[in-house]
C-alpha cells in the first residue's frame, strides 16, 4: 500500500482515501469535530487543519488544509506539530468556545466530550470574549434525546445523520451565521427509531440521551463489550455500568453487523439488566403448592429422586427452550436430553419474521425477529416450531418430565396448561414467568450481561458477550446448571468451563469445527454455509433518498 508521512510517521492508505481516516486507522490522532466515518465530509469545523509541506511532488500547499477532505497522495509529508497548525487549532477552539456555555458541571457529556478534551489539548485556556453569550430557549425534540442548543458547536453531524443514515431528514440546520441552530422541522417531534445514535455522534452535550440524563458521571462508568439481544441482528454493544448497576448500552463498531449504530429499543434493553422484580435469586421448589427457596443440593436431589421413581421413557421427556439461550446452553440442553433420556425432543419457537431493506443500511438492523439465537438453535439441530404445530403435538401426548429453559412459547397459554400437567417440570430461568406458576423446580439462571456466552445472529455470525456485572450470588450460568442436572441424573457432562462447553460444541457440530471461544474475533465469525432460514422474508421499505 502507498504511504504518506504524518509528522514523519509513515501511514499506509488505500488509493482514494482521505488523510484523516487513514491517520485515524493507523492510530494517529488529528483532532476533528464534524468528520465522522459514517457520514459525508463537510469540512466545516476547521479543527483538522494540517500543514502539507510536500504534496508528494516536492511542492508544499501554502494554506492549511482540512485533512478530512484532502486526498492522501504517495509520499505526501504532513506536519501537525508546527506553530502554524497549533495556532490554527487554538483559534478554532477559541471561536468554538466564545458562545459555548461551559456548563460542564451539569452536562452529561462531560468526561466524554471532545470539546473538553481538545480544549485541554489545543486550546488557550482563556477567552477574550467579553460580551453576552448567545442563548437559545429550550426545545423538546422528542422522547429519546434531549436537545440543549446552547452547547451546540454546529458540526451538523446530527443533520447529516437524519439525511444520510436514516433518510428521515426531520432534523436540520436553521438560520444563518451566528444564529445558526439545529432543530426539528415545523416543530414536529423526532420520529426515527435511531435517535440515540444522534446523541452518540454529537461531539458535545447538545444532544444527550434522556434515559441517561443526570444519572451518573461518565468517568465513573466501566465498559464491557456485549451484544444486544433485542432482535436477531445481534448489534455489538458496550454495557456501561457502575457499582454493579447498568446505566446504558451503547453501540460498539462492527462494520459487518451494525456499523456504528443501534436502535433506540435495543438501547433500552439495558433496563432488564437491573431488574430485580421477579428475578430468581435462589433455587426454588414447590412445597405444599408454594414455591419456596431451597438449596442447590436439595433441588438436584429431589429431581434425581423423582426421575428415578418415574423411570420415564424417551418419549415421555420434553425440553422447551426460548432463543435467548446461548449456543453453549442450547448445546448442554441437547446433551442433557440425549445422555440422560436418549431423547432429541428439544423444541424452540421459530416464527416467521421480516428483514426490512431499503436504500438506507440502518433500516436493516431492526428485524421483527425477537428470537435472537434461533440461528444457533437451528445449527445445533434442535426442533424449530414454525407455526405452533410441534408444540400442539407435544401437548397432545403429555410428557412426564419437562425441562424448560427461559420462557419458551410464552404466547401459547393453552399448550402451556396441558404441558403443565406433567409430573415433573424443571425450569432454568433468570426471571419468573407464567411457566413458573406451573413448575415444580425453578433454578436461577443469568442474563447475558452477567456471563460469557456466544450467540449466532440472523446472518450466522457467532459473537460473544463478556460478563459485565456480578450476577445474584446463588445463580449460575445456565450451562453450569444443566451440567449439574446431568450429574444429578448420573451422567458425567465432562465440561468445567464455558470454554470447555464451546470446545465440545465445536467438536460435535460440524459448522463450528475449528472454532475456539478464546480466539473468537471481536467482530465475530461467520459460520460456513448459507443463510437458509425458511421464516425469513425480505420486506422492501419504500424510502427515497433525501441526502
Amino acid at each position: 500500500m502507498p504511504v504518506f508521512y504524518l509528522d514523519d510517521q509513515p501511514i499506509e492508505f488505500q488509493p482514494g482515501e482521505k488523510v484523516l481516516p487513514a491517520a485515524l486507522r493507523a492510530g494517529a490522532d488529528i483532532p476533528h469535530y464534524c468528520y465522522h466515518p459514517g457520514l459525508s465530509v463537510v469540512a466545516t469545523c476547521r479543527m483538522c487543519l494540517v500543514d502539507v509541506v510536500d504534496m508528494g511532488n516536492g511542492r508544499p500547499i501554502p494554506k492549511l488544509q482540512t485533512s478530512c477532505s484532502m486526498d492522501a497522495a504517495p509520499n505526501m509529508k504532513i506536519v501537525t506539530s508546527n506553530d502554524k497548525v497549533s495556532e490554527a487549532r487554538k483559534l478554532v477552539m477559541e471561536f468554538l468556545l466564545i458562545n459555548h456555555p461551559l456548563d460542564c458541571p451539569v452536562c452529561d457529556q462531560s468526561g466524554e466530550c471532545i470539546l473538553q478534551d481538545y480544549s485541554y489539548d489545543h486550546g488557550t485556556g482563556k477567552s477574550e470574549m467579553e460580551y453576552n453569550k448567545r442563548v437559545y430557549g429550550i426545545r423538546d425534540v422528542g422522547t429519546f434525546i434531549q436537545l440543549e442548543r446552547n452547547r451546540c458547536i454546529h458540526c451538523t453531524r446530527c443533520d447529516r445523520f437524519t439525511r444520510e443514515v436514516t433518510g428521515t431528514a426531520e432534523f436540520g440546520m436553521f438560520n444563518r451565521a451566528h444564529e445558526l441552530t439545529v432543530d426539528t422541522f415545523a416543530d414536529r417531534p423526532m420520529v426515527n427509531k435511531f435517535q440515540g445514535n444522534m446523541a452518540d455522534i454529537c461531539p458535545v452535550g447538545a444532544l444527550t440521551e434522556k434515559e441517561f440524563r443526570f444519572k451518573r458521571r461518565v468517568w465513573r462508568l466501566k465498559k464491557t463489550p456485549s451484544l444486544c439481544l433485542g432482535c436477531s441482528t445481534g448489534c455489538n454493544t458496550s454495557i456501561e455500568y457502575d457499582k454493579n448497576e447498568v446505566f446504558r448500552m451503547k453501540p460498539r463498531e462492527n462494520q459487518e453487523v451494525n456499523r456504528w449504530w443501534m436502535c433506540d429499543e435495543g438501547r433500552l434493553t439495558y433496563r432488564q439488566m437491573n431488574q430485580r422484580e421477579g428475578r430468581v435469586m435462589k433455587p426454588m421448589g414447590r412445597i405444599k403448592g408454594e414455591l419456596q427457596a431451597i438449596s442447590w443440593n436439595q433441588a438436584f436431589e429431589a429431581i434425581a429422586e423423582r426421575v428415578k421413581e418415574m423411570k420415564p421413557q424417551a418419549s415421555e421427556v420434553l425440553a422447551l427452550t426460548d432463543t435467548r439461550a446461548s449456543n453453549e446452553e442450547l448445546f448442554m440442553l441437547k446433551k442433557l436430553m440425549r445422555d440422560a433420556f436418549q431423547s432429541s425432543e428439544v423444541l424452540f419457537p421459530m416464527p416467521s419474521w421480516e428483514q426490512p431493506e431499503s436504500d438506507f443500511f440502518i433500516d436493516s438492523i431492526i428485524t421483527t425477529d425477537r428470537t435472537p439465537n434461533r440461528a444457533g438453535a437451528r445449527e445445533l439441530g434442535l426442533k424449530g416450531d414454525t407455526d405452533g404445530s410441534l408444540l400442539k403435538q407435544a401437548a397432545e401426548q403429555p410428557a412426564k418430565v419437562v425441562i424448560l429453559l427461559g420462557n419458551p412459547f410464552e404466547q401459547e397459554a393453552a399448550a402451556r396448561e396441558k404441558i403443565g400437567d406433567a409430573q415433573l417440570l424443571i425450569q432454568v430461568t433468570p426471571f419468573l414467568n407464567e411457566w413458573s406458576e406451573l413448575v415444580d423446580v425453578v433454578l436461577p439462571g443469568q442474563l447475558h450481561s452477567e456471563k460469557v456466552a456466544t450467540y449466532t445472529n440472523k446472518d450466522r455470525r457467532v459473537q460473544r458477550t463478556e460478563a459485565a456485572v456480578v450476577p445474584p450470588r446463588q445463580s449460575h450460568p445456565e450451562w453450569e446448571v444443566l451440567a449439574g442436572l446431568m450429574r444429578a441424573l448420573g451422567q458425567e457432562p465432562q465440561v468445567d468451563s464455558v470454554e470447555g462447553v464451546f470446545a465440545a460444541l465445536a467438536q460435535e457440530v460440524r459448522s463450528f469445527a475449528g472454532m475456539q471461544l478464546s480466539t473468537l474475533p471481536a467482530t465475530g465469525q461467520v459460520l460456513p454455509g448459507t443463510v437458509d432460514d425458511p421464516g425469513r422474508a425480505v420486506k422492501r421499505l419504500e424510502k427515497s433518498s433525501i441526502a
Partner: protein
C-alpha cells in the same frame, strides 16, 4: 481625459437602441453565435484562452482554462450555469447588461453552452432583480419564438434550452457551489472543494459557472478576434470591464473602461470628482470584500494585477469612493454587519468571527473602544481569513484587517478624543 471604451456597452450607450431581438439582430447580433456554431467546441475554448479573458465575477480566473477543466466522457450531461446573483455590495454591472441588452448576454451564454457541450443552461438571477428577470425572460421567449433556442439552434443540430432561476436573497448563493446547491433546491451552503464543479457540480454533473459579464464578452471576442480584445488592457489583463462606481462622486454609475485606466482617472474623469469638491479619504476598489486603499494609493492601473500589486483586489470591480467626512469605523461596522448577516454559518471561524468582530465594532461606536480591542479586532480578522470552506471568511476579514491597518488613527479617535458620534 479618460473616456469609456465601448465594447459591451456599445448598444446600451446608443440612445436609439431597441433591446428586442429584432433590434439586436439589426445591430449585428448573433454574428458571433453563427460563427461559433460553425466551429468545433475545442476551437472556441482555444479562442477564449487566447483572448486572455478572465472571469469578471471576482476571482479573475481565466475563463478558457476553466472550460478546459470540464470532465469529459463521464456519460453525464454538462451544464453551464450563469452566476447572475450579483449581490456584492456596490456591484451593479450585471444588472445593466441583463436589463438593457439581454440579447448580447444571451448570445454569449449560447456560445458558452456550445463550447462546453451544454444542452440546458441555467441563469441564476438574484431574487431582488425583478426588472432584470422580466427582461431576461422576455428575451428568452423571443429566442424561442424565433426558433433560435430549442432543438436546433440556427440549423446546426445543436439543442439548447435556457432557464432563468431566481435566488431568494442570500448573498452566499453567489458563491458558485452554494449557488449550485440552491439551484438544486437545497439550502445554499458552499461545498468542499475538491471536487470542483467542473467535475461534480449541478446534480453531480460537470458544470461551469460563469459571470454574466464574462459571458457577455464572448460575442466580441469571436467576431473581433482575441487580439482585439487583448488590446483593451495591459498584459495578462485583457479586455474592457464594467466599473460600478458609487459613493461620494459627482457622477456615480456603471462605466465601461479599458484596463489601462487608473483609479484616479476613473474617479476624477468619469466620476466627475468628489462631491462638493471635498478631499478623498479612501476607496474600496472591488466590492465591499476587497481591502480598502488610501487616497495616496490611487495612481495604479485599475486591473487585476494593478490592484493585487498594492495588496488589494479588483473583485467584481465595484468601486466605492468615500470622502474626508466619512466615519471609517461606522463604515467598517456596516460592512461587517453585512457579512455577519450573510455568513451561512457552517464554518466555525466565519460563523463566530463575523459576529464577534461586529460586537467589537459596536463597542467602538458606543465609545467603549480601546487599544486592546483594536488589536483583538485585527486578530479576529486575521483568524477568519483563509481558514474557511468558501471565500466569505476572507471577504469579511479583508475589510477588517485593511481598515484597521490603514486607518488606525480613526479608530483611536474613538477612544482617545471625544468625537461627536462617540459622545
Amino acid at each position: 481625459m479618460l473616456e469609456e471604451t465601448l465594447v459591451l456597452f456599445r448598444n446600451i450607450r446608443n440612445p436609439n437602441y431597441d433591446k428586442s431581438l429584432k433590434g439586436y439582430l439589426a445591430s449585428g447580433g448573433h454574428k458571433a453565435l453563427k460563427q461559433a456554431l460553425g466551429m468545433k467546441p475545442d476551437e472556441i475554448v482555444q479562442v477564449v484562452k487566447d483572448s486572455g479573458l478572465r472571469g469578471r465575477g471576482g476571482a479573475g480566473f481565466p475563463t478558457g482554462m476553466k472550460w478546459s477543466f470540464m470532465a469529459k466522457g463521464t456519460g453525464k450531461p454538462s451544464y453551464l450555469v450563469c452566476n447572475a446573483d450579483e449581490s456584492e455590495p456596490g456591484t451593479c454591472k450585471d444588472r445593466e447588461l441583463m436589463l438593457k441588452d439581454p440579447q448580447q448576454f444571451l448570445e454569449g451564454m449560447m456560445i458558452g453552452c456550445f463550447a462546453i457541450g451544454c444542452n440546458h443552461g441555467y441563469i441564476y438571477v438574484r431574487g431582488e432583480y425583478w426588472p432584470s428577470i422580466k427582461s431576461l425572460n422576455a428575451a428568452i421567449d423571443e429566442l424561442y419564438e424565433a426558433g433560435i433556442l430549442g432543438d436546433n439552434v440556427y440549423g446546426s443540430g445543436f439543442k439548447l434550452d435556457l432557464t432563468v432561476h431566481t435566488g431568494a436573497g442570500a448573498y452566499i448563493c453567489g458563491e458558485e457551489s452554494a449557488l449550485l446547491d440552491s439551484l438544486e433546491g437545497k439550502r445554499g451552503h458552499p461545498r468542499v472543494k475538491p471536487p470542483f464543479p467542473a467535475v461534480s457540480g449541478f446534480n453531480g454533473c460537470p458544470t461551469t459557472v460563469n459571470n454574466v459579464e464574462t459571458l457577455a464578452c464572448l460575442p466580441y471576442i469571436l467576431t473581433e478576434g482575441p487580439e482585439a480584445f487583448k488590446a483593451h488592457g495591459p498584459e495578462n489583463n485583457a479586455g474592457t470591464h464594467l466599473v460600478s462606481l458609487s459613493g461620494h462622486v459627482n457622477r456615480p454609475g456603471v462605466y465601461e473602461i479599458s484596463m489601462h485606466a487608473s483609479i484616479r482617472e476613473i474617479i476624477y474623469d468619469l466620476g466627475g470628482g468628489i462631491r462638493g469638491g471635498k478631499a478623498l479619504k479612501g476607496v474600496i476598489p472591488g466590492g465591499s470584500s476587497s481591502p480598502v486603499i488610501r487616497a495616496d494609493e490611487i495612481d495604479v492601473n485599475y486591473s487585476f494585477d494593478g490592484l493585487s500589486k498594492i495588496g488589494s483586489m479588483m473583485g467584481s470591480s465595484a468601486m466605492m469612493v468615500f470622502d474626508e467626512d466619512t466615519d471609517v469605523v461606522q463604515l467598517l461596522h456596516r460592512i461587517t454587519r453585512f457579512y455577519n448577516h450573510e455568513s451561512c454559518g457552517q464554518c466555525t471561524p466565519c460563523r463566530e468571527g463575523t459576529h464577534w468582530a461586529r460586537q467589537i465594532l459596536r463597542d467602538f461606536l458606543s465609545g467603549n473602544g480601546s487599544d486592546r480591542k483594536l488589536k483583538r479586532l485585527h486578530r479576529v480578522g486575521q483568524n477568519m481569513s483563509g481558514t474557511t470552506v468558501c471565500a466569505l471568511g476572507d471577504a469579511a476579514a479583508f475589510p477588517i484587517m485593511s481598515f484597521v491597518s490603514k486607518f488606525p488613527e480613526e479608530f483611536k479617535n474613538y477612544f482617545e478624543s471625544t468625537s461627536p458620534i462617540a459622545a
